[in-house]
């Protein structure tokens, strides 16, 4: 105990500095994050504890260098080895003291970060706090152990640092290079499909660097198995360091290595990172010159040996050993290439496949959808799925053999049904491998998948409501969250009563189906984000008429945000838009009209638009549409906001910059008022982008007004018939304009019907 306490004291100077830095960094970084204006999801563990990533490397090296610093000076080494404590005990005393400081620093950082997040009411994954402590402690200890090994092998600071890099990273760099070589040589194997022994993130300390280079790896980096594996590796490395420390002669202090032979080994090791580029595929991809790479390798070797051996003659004598790493590099190239080919060529027989798993197309993204997460757990034992996966794999392999890449095109034949899906095959003999397959038909795959009840359940399952932390970009305590939570609650209530999958990705795509018809009519999308366990998700749900309660809730929310649409200004602008004189003046209007009665009896969502500007080549045609727009504006002024999704209703956005005859801007008073209310010194002559609830979005100097966020408005029964007539004519002119301007021919289909019938299709909004 006493040597341990003494080591704690000895490391206290650096330990306290690191602790203080960690304290400041964690508070600053957390506050910076938590006070940022916008987040759309809970932060990743990497983002949340980013100061600890630097600590892994800085803390590990600094504490090891300080703890074992006596090994680099003869007098210090002699003193410590003369003390009545066994080398083993001395080693563990220093190591445990370093571990104490490391754990204290990590714990401080984690606690402070959690405290800042909690106090600022910023959502975060609580489990991260539990994972971060062992993760960052073990990762830092991995660096510490590498440095301890290095310091036990050498006797100077420079060689100690150099060897630390080699011990810490050489094996992993070689592994990374080989993995890269395989990924580069195999279009159907990604970083996430490599066998475990080639996965860069199993070692969590080097994995941090790997995930910066390949962000898709970050999801698996913090997996408990990696933490456990790294802990075992750390233990083994510390044991090795202890053995070397025990055997280390005190007289090694102030010497680079025990012998010239060992120096040569170090020199060869220093060359390996360069020659391993042969295996990584970088050379062929980036067009590196082989002589230059070999030249760099030779240069490193010569410089190292000249510095270490301090003799040109000895360096020359050791030169033949350089052939060893060079040969390793060449062997690495051929080994990697043949391994990649071998891996890629393997196609199992369907009957040998126990089950397959669909890991999700965007598994490497920052967030995945909750349904993808659930689907990735499903085991597809169905023969159709397994067979389709095996056939696709076989076809993909054959295509790569022929063309060198996945030579499929999105054409009419495939009906844009190509789908790239990472698939894990689990064979009956227990073997497991993953490939990124390009399926020729996504619908076929989905239809086969639907044979699996777990899949069907997964695609219709919404995340637990308590797991949602962000709604429409607002966090739990945000106004947007509170206002939208009613919509989400309704969506949760309604979805199980429908056949819709929660995520449209898992919906069988019908090329002949009109997604703007009847219950398919789309009123909006609601996005949620949160976490389950340590899995962060981001979901987007389509609000269709088929879910009328949700649609009604959506409309109510939208209308509630649309308190003043300034339709009077819109009408003034419309009237004046036919005679715009100033080159800078313009006006545009776009309308999304819902439940438009069609000749085939369906109700559809249709969009109408018109823009006016001086010197418009299509002015003649638009002049013909102008009366329609004028009349529509009048009707719109009489319309009322509605929250019934079955209503024949319109959602209008408009914008413009229009002068009155006296030279003032139409809406100039609004501009002035908005600027005055926003404290802006520009009173007139500027453009104001305002939402209809009065909030200024943007102000410039052009004098334009853009109105967003209108309400859903329905018409009086008397006006409905006239609106339908207006829309029929508008559509006709609009099509004429489009075909005149952009070419093409009219598509056959139903036309706008004669009369709107307020049939409760499919159900009235509740």
């Amino acid at each position: 105990m006493k040597p341990y306490l003494e080591s704690i004291r000895r490391l206290s100077r650096l330990g306290l500095i690191l602790l203080a830095l960690s304290f400041v960094a964690s508070v600053v970084v957390s506050i910076q994050y938590c006070t940022a204006l916008y987040h759309d999801n809970v932060p990743s563990i990497t983002k949340m504890f980013s100061p600890l990533i630097a600590f892994i490397y800085a803390g590990g090296v600094v504490l090891a260098m300080d703890g074992f610093s006596f090994l680099n000076k003869r007098s210090d080494s002699d003193f410590y080895h003369s003390l009545p404590v066994s080398r083993k005990r001395l080693f563990w005393a220093i190591t445990l003291a370093a571990l104490t400081w490391i754990a204290a620093t990590v714990l401080t950082n984690v606690l402070l970060t959690v405290m800042v997040f909690t106090l600022t009411k910023t959502p975060f994954v609580q489990l991260y706090a539990l994972v971060a402590v062992p993760f960052f402690t073990i990762a830092t200890m991995m660096v510490f152990s590498a440095c301890a090994i290095a310091m036990s092998l050498t006797g100077t600071t420079i060689t100690g640092l150099g060897l630390t890099i080699l011990v810490f990273g050489l094996f992993r760099f070689v592994q990374f290079a080989v993995a890269r070589g395989i990924v580069a040589n195999t279009p159907i194997i990604s970083w996430l499909d490599l066998p475990w022994y080639l996965t860069p993130v199993t070692n969590i300390a080097t994995g941090q660097i790997a995930q910066l280079l390949r962000p898709m790896l970050r999801h698996t980096l913090y997996a408990p198995i990696n933490i456990f594996y790294s802990a075992v590796i750390t233990g083994a490395e510390l044991f090795l360091a202890r053995v070397l420390f025990e055997k280390r002669p005190s007289e090694l202090a102030e010497h680079g290595a025990k012998s010239a032979a060992l120096q040569t080994v170090f020199a060869c090791a220093a060359v390996i990172p360069v020659v391993i580029l042969f295996a990584s595929g970088v050379m062929t991809q980036q067009g590196f010159s082989i002589p230059i790479v070999v030249g760099i390798a030779v240069g490193i070797y010569i410089i190292y040996q000249l510095v270490a051996l301090r003799s040109a003659k000895k360096m020359m004598l050791s030169l033949p050993w350089l052939l060893v790493p060079l040969a390793l590099g060449v062997a690495g190239y051929f080994g990697t290439t043949s391994a990649a080919k071998s891996l890629q060529s393997f196609v199992p027989n369907t009957q040998d496949v126990a089950y397959v798993q669909l890991n999700g197309a965007n598994r490497g993204s920052e967030y995945v959808s909750y349904q993808q997460y659930l689907v990735s757990k499903v085991q597809f034992t169905e023969t159709d799925v397994c067979q389709y996966a095996v056939e696709t794999l076989r076809d993909n392999v054959a295509t790569i053999r022929t063309s060198g890449y996945l030579n499929y095109t999105y054409d009419d034949q495939s009906s844009y049904m190509l789908s790239t899906q990472p698939v894990t095959f689990v064979l009956k003999d227990g073997r497991k491998f993953s490939r990124v397959l390009m399926f020729l038909n996504q619908n076929t795959l989905l239809s086969y998948c639907q044979q699996n009840s777990a899949f069907n359940e997964a695609i219709q399952t919404l995340p637990p409501p308590s797991s949602t932390r962000y709604l429409q970009g607002g966090d739990l305590y945000d106004k947007a969250y509170l206002e939208n939570s009613a919509i989400l609650a309704t969506y949760y209530e309604e979805l199980p009563q429908t056949d819709y999958p929660a995520n449209d990705f898992y919906r069988i795509f019908d090329p002949y189906m009109n997604y703007m018809v009847d219950e398919e009519q789309n009123y909006g999308n609601i996005s949620t984000a949160g976490y389950v366990g340590m899995m962060r998700y981001w979901d987007s749900y389509t609000i269709r008429l088929g879910m009328p309660k949700s649609s009604a809730a959506w409309m109510a929310y939208t209308n509630n945000h649309s308190k003043n649409e300034h339709l009077d200004i819109m009408q003034q602008m419309i009237r004046k838009s036919a005679t715009l004189t100033s080159d800078m003046d313009y006006f545009n209007i776009s309308m999304m009209v819902y439940n438009v009665p069609m000749s085939d009896g369906t109700k559809q969502t249709m969009s109408f638009y018109l823009d006016r500007s001086p010197n418009d080549p299509a002015a003649e045609l638009k002049d013909q549409m102008q009366p329609l727009m004028n009349e529509f504006a009048e009707i719109l002024l009489r319309s009322k906001p509605t929250t019934n999704p079955n209503d024949f209703c319109v959602f209008t956005a408009w914008g413009g910059r229009v002068h009155n005859d006296d030279g003032t801007f139409i809406g100039g008073d609004i501009i002035a008022r908005q600027y005055a209310s926003s404290g802006n010194s520009f009173v007139s002559g500027g453009s104001v982008y305002f939402v209809s609830n009065g909030n200024v979005l943007y102000g410039g100097i052009s004098g334009g007004i853009s109105a967003y966020n209108p309400s859903f408005r329905s018409f009086t029964p008397e006006d409905q018939a006239r609106v339908i007539e207006i829309l029929q004519q508008w559509k006709s002119k609009q099509d004429e304009y489009n075909f005149t301007m952009y070419g093409g021919t009219p598509i056959e289909g139903p036309s706008i019907g004669e009369k709107y019938t307020a049939a409760p299709t499919p159900t009235p909004a509740g």
Binding site: K2, S75, D76, D78, H81
Partner: protein
């Protein structure tokens, strides 16, 4: 007791110690003298388990020293190049020693600091070289170990401090039966302090003896006779050296000086004078007797002591 048997330590091609044998009894102050590079520091580092012998053994109280904390509990080492924790003071160093040495005495530490008049709170890197040696000595003596090893420690102390340390060592030897091993390249530094002396030369102890015995066992006789004479005239005495210039001869004789005086006086010399030898002279003559020559270090045969 410290026992070394065929102790060998090499540094690359250099043999720092070669087949060294020695016994250092408990309760003595053992001086090890030798020129630079003789192997004194290496020997002390082997005694303290800093180095592992390449061949042979070294044991203290019957136990091998290297990486053996049970044995090393009894040993403390004050090297020639001192180590102190960075930015530390004596109090901080005392904490370090206290955590490592089971019998470290804080009382003694306080007493010694007072005796040496060293400020315990002052940073050690502001101390002079001599004061740093005093500090290291205080810490070592406060460890209350059975064996204390000083590597040329006294060389840097002024006479007053040397006497102070010497007095403390004597106390430790007398009161606790402590053993001190002190090295120096200067025999004069050790002459007044040690009660056993050994000469280390080219990696081996070539001579070892009790100081008191050394001082009295050899003496110089200056004699002259009227008639011609030679060495054979003194057959019953162990003469290490005999030189004659004219009628006057100088002899280095081992044995009882009073007895030798009686025997020579019986032969009626014209001159007879018995002279004491300095310790340095005794060493040189003993070495010569063993076949070593400092001017031309040629081993003439025979095993090293």
């Amino acid at each position: 007791m410290i026992k070394a048997r065929k102790l060998t330590k090499r540094f690359g091609t250099v043999e720092a110690l070669l087949n060294l044998n020695c016994n250092i009894p408990q309760g003595c102050i053992y001086g090890l003298v030798g020129a630079n590079g003789a192997g004194k520091s290496t020997f002390l580092r082997l005694c303290n388990g800093i180095y592992k012998p390449d061949e042979g053994h070294i044991s203290i109280n019957g136990g091998e020293v290297f990486d053996n904390p049970v044995v090393k509990d009894h040993c403390v080492f004050v090297p020639d190049e001192l180590y102190f924790l960075p930015q530390s003071n004596l109090n901080r160093m005392a904490l370090l020693y206290e955590s490592m040495y089971p019998r470290f005495s804080t009382e003694r530490f306080a007493d010694l600091c007072a005796a040496f008049k060293l400020d315990r709170t002052r940073q050690l890197n502001t101390f002079s070289k001599g004061m740093r040696r005093q500090a290291a000595t205080i810490l070592a003596l406060s460890a209350m170990t059975d064996y204390v090893f000083f590597d040329e420690t006294f060389d840097g102390l002024d006479p007053v401090m040397r006497n102070l340390v010497r007095g403390m060592l004597y106390d430790d030897v007398l009161e606790r039966g402590c053993t001190a091993v002190i090295t120096s390249h200067s025999l004069r530094e050790l002459e007044d302090t040690c009660d056993q002396l050994a000469l280390l030369y080219q990696g081996g102890i070539v001579f070892e003896s009790d100081v008191q015995n050394l001082k009295t066992s050899l003496f110089k006789v200056q004699v002259a006779f009227a008639k011609d004479y030679d060495r054979s005239q003194f057959t019953n005495m162990e003469i290490l050296s005999f030189t004659k210039q004219g009628s006057v001869a100088n002899m280095i004789i081992r044995g009882d000086s009073s007895m030798a005086k009686v025997v020579i006086a019986a032969q009626n010399p014209l001159i007879l004078e018995i002279l004491p030898l300095t310790l340095e002279e005794v060493f040189l003559y003993e070495m010569e007797a063993l076949g070593y020559s400092f001017e031309a270090p040629v081993l003439k045969g025979g095993e090293r002591a």
